[in-house]
Amino acid sequence: MQTFQFTRATTPDQAIQAHAGATARYVAGGTNLVDMMKLDVEQPTSLIDINELSLSAITPTPTGGLHIGALSRNSEVAHHPIVLRDYPVLSQAILSGASPQLRNMASTAGNLLQRTRCVYFRDTAFPCNKREPGSGCSAIDGFNRNLAILGTSKDCIASNPSDQNVALTALEATIHIQGKSGSREVPIHSFYVVPGNTPHIETVLQPGDLITGVTLPPPRPSVRSLYLKLRDREAYEFALASAAVQLGTQGNRITFARVALGGVGTKPWRSLEAEHALEGRPVDLATFRHAAQEALRSARPQSENAFKVDLSQRCLVRALTLATKSA
């Protein structure tokens, strides 16, 4: 591991002040960053410990939504009574990922910035455009079974590994960011960027930007939310395909739909196509299948992951079916 300068910050301003640019990193839980530092995938020259910042609270907002502090641990969010009651999709997504120990450490903001599990990204012996821009993509002609089929480019097909962020995307969360030039809020669907020819850039964050929290909009009455994750084993494994849905119905008609897919996209994948194919249509299998087809229409499978097109569609159909089952 490379040496680094260690700084402990106690306020957001202090942390941002201490952030010296592209080679500095904030550290909260450390579950992802420390792992990558051990692999030399991340080589920060400066590490700013933000664990003492007062950003751990989970509080209702005046408009009936929920604000989740950046340093709230995944386990705290997943077991929070308001999350369980109003945003079950988020609790289910978080509890489907990692392990209890990791969830006790991992922070909400750290999870937002979780890096891909592409084996070439994690192995410095191989070229990888995301890790070393311009060096090439080893995955396109390599082991790509687990990688993305949506949002890929000729330079990168790495999949986003997070479960939490798929749920936050379906919930239309807002990310709160404090930076060197003030604070701003970014809707989660604008927060992540597809790789294009700059796969090393994954979000709209600028050097020094600090995520301070996430806000969920008020829950909609009689809308059900659900997360379904498919993987090689039922525990402690990343998604091959997952779906987070919010679905509202009136009689036999779908009145409201939010759909996000995991395991298949280069970013947490909001599917407006599926939402358009659902809203206003009857609650039946034909509608769900059509929506799933629409969601995967632009899929570009690689040599080893063509199965994901079908799997992801089945996953979404199943999630929609479960979400509309009578309670």
Partner: protein, 229 residues
């Protein structure tokens, strides 16, 4: 690293015993050489014979440096006060020292094990402020205000934690390397929102891998203690 390999099958040690004090080690070396004391000295010698790249390791064979701040700060080190098992330790550490390495190499609390070192196996599980975490994935200097509990702080041979006793009773281990992590997780499960069934326990314990496959006995041990409490 040699030291890690040597302790791989040290079942006795992983069952939550305090590491032998230097005096005890000397006594056993002069008299009967126990496996642990032999390996312990071998490990220290092995490290001493090489140029330790990380200061955390270099401190291992200098017991006097363990609980006292170095009089001269080594370049690049960071002062840290760590509360482990109710005791405060003032140290100067290379910031790259993980909590796991600090516990094992600086504080001689070798009950906590290094398995994968990447947060995937659970052998390094300790409690931070009462919650179970992977000690391999955070730096020791990130824990100035935390209460850290290791397997040594859970119970001792003459007063075992009920979970330790249950693991012995149900034979919840074979080689024993994962055992301290399993027990630390299991103790945490007692306070977590975990359902009543064996399947619930398996779900709650999946962050701890046992290559020997002692899972059925581990589940039995955990369930026994949950029923008692």
């Amino acid at each position: 690293m040699a030291k890690e390999i040597i302790t791989l099958d040290d079942k006795e040690e992983s069952m939550a015993t305090d590491p032998a004090s230097p005096a005890e080690q000397d006594r056993s070396l002069l008299g009967r050489v126990s496996r642990r004391s032999f390996l312990s000295h071998l490990g220290a010698a092995g490290i001493a014979a090489t140029t330790a790249p990380v200061l955390a390791s270099a401190a291992t064979f200098t017991p006097s440096a363990i609980q006292e701040p170095a009089t001269e700060a080594a370049p690049g080190t960071v002062p840290i006060s760590l509360n482990v098992n109710g005791q405060t330790h003032k140290l100067r550490l290379d910031p790259r020292t993980t909590l796991l390495d600090c516990l094992r190499e600086n504080l001689n609390l070798s009950g906590t094990k290094k398995g994968c070192d990447h947060g995937q196996c659970g052998a390094c599980t300790v409690h931070v402020n009462g919650r179970r975490v992977n000690s391999c994935l955070s730096f020791a200097v990130m824990h100035p205000n935390d209460q850290i509990t290791t397997i040594e702080g859970i119970g001792q041979p003459d007063h075992l934690h009920p979970m330790q006793a249950a693991f012995i009773e149900h034979d919840g281990y074979q080689c024993g390397y994962c055992t301290s992590g399993q027990i630390m997780s299991a103790v945490a499960v007692l306070k977590e929102p975990v359902g009543p069934t064996d399947d619930d326990v398996k779900q709650a314990m999946y962050g701890n891998i046992c290559r020997c496959g002692a899972y059925p006995n581990i589940v039995a041990a955990v369930q026994q203690v949950r029923h008692q409490s």
